[in-house]
């Protein structure tokens, strides 16, 4: 029996998965837009984005626009690769679960 793949624990969290999926479809996105799309709280969103940033899956740019702080997030190449691998692992596991 072939060995089943492990799911990347950094991506596996639902909010982190949602964030990476969102970022995979846009060039960059503001914190507020990600909050609206995920319906998350500021604190939780910030914490999950920090984990993704620490893993090197998202890059952050902070600046001031018209004296207001603005935080922009973009997916890194390693983040895109990790998400692709995660999806492949999910499908493999799902195939195994259906076949079982």
């Amino acid at each position: 029996m072939p060995e089943l793949p492990e799911l990347n624990p950094v991506i596996h969290g639902k909010l982190r998965l949602a964030l990476l999926s969102l970022l995979s479809a846009v060039d960059e996105a503001e914190f507020t837009w990600l909050r609206t799309k995920t319906g998350s709280t500021d604190g939780n969103l910030g914490a999950q984005l920090l984990k993704l940033e620490e893993a090197g899956y998202v890059a952050v740019e902070k600046k001031f626009v018209q004296r207001k702080p603005q935080t922009l997030y973009r997916m890194t190449d390693s983040g895109r690769l990790a998400l692709t691998e995660y999806v492949q692992a999910l499908k493999q596991l799902l195939g195994a679960a259906i076949g079982a």
Binding site: L7, S24, A25, A29, E30, L34, V65, V87, Q88, L93
Partner: protein
């Protein structure tokens, strides 16, 4: 860890990914239609000015086109992530619109509105805006539009009324209508390619 995961949860994860990617994809910026809309607006204003009240034609048509652009753009604004590039684009075109409007209305009211001067100013301004936008977006086709607008502006300074009019109408056709339709087709193709590229997530 993976052995404990139910297949329903796995399906939920895949569904979440699809849903979020679809959300993000809806944000794809599409501005080709604005070029077409403004190209048509220029033609309407020119036709109205030629056949009817010249003093009302430009201000009324430009305000109407501005309001229509604002309404249509705001309908999709909430679906788009605010980005630096998006704001830069908005700043360029908003600045251009206000500049042309203020200047043309002032020239019209003062009675100093001359066809050659108008086309030269509009050509120079649209050339500048298209050039800036093309550099930010790295879009060579738009830079070609900038060159065409600058050429129309320069030509207006040296040519006859008829040639100036023809040059202006031609520039509108190619740089607004044709470029706008080309932009819409390019945006549509980009979206289709993106969907095909994301196919790995859905297959």
């Amino acid at each position: 860890m993976t052995s404990n995961i139910e297949s329903q949860e796995l399906k939920d994860r895949l569904s979440l990914i699809e849903q979020m990617i679809a959300e993000g994809r809806r944000t794809t910026e599409s501005w080709g239609w604005t070029f077409v809309l403004w190209g048509v607006a220029y033609y309407v204003a020119i036709a109205w000015a030629t056949l009817g009240k010249a003093s009302l034609a430009w201000p009324v048509t430009m305000v109407a086109a501005g309001v229509l652009t604002g309404v249509l753009a705001s309908r999709t604004a909430s679906k788009r992530p605010e980005t630096t590039v998006g704001r830069a684009m908005m700043a360029i075109w908003l600045g251009l619109g206000v500049s042309i409007f203020v200047l043309m209305v002032s020239l019209g009211m003062s009675g100093r509105l001359d066809e050659h001067v108008s086309v030269a100013i509009i050509g120079a301004m649209l050339g500048g805006a298209n050039c800036t936008s093309s550099i930010i977006l790295k879009w060579k086709m738009q830079f070609a539009c900038a060159v065409a607008w600058w050429s129309a502006g320069v030509a207006a300074c040296f040519t006859s009324d008829t040639v100036t009019s023809i040059t202006f109408l031609t520039a509108i056709f190619f740089c607004q209508i044709v470029f706008g339709i080309y932009g819409m087709i390019a945006e549509s193709s980009k979206q289709k390619r993106s969907e095909a590229g994301q196919g790995a997530f859905h297959a």
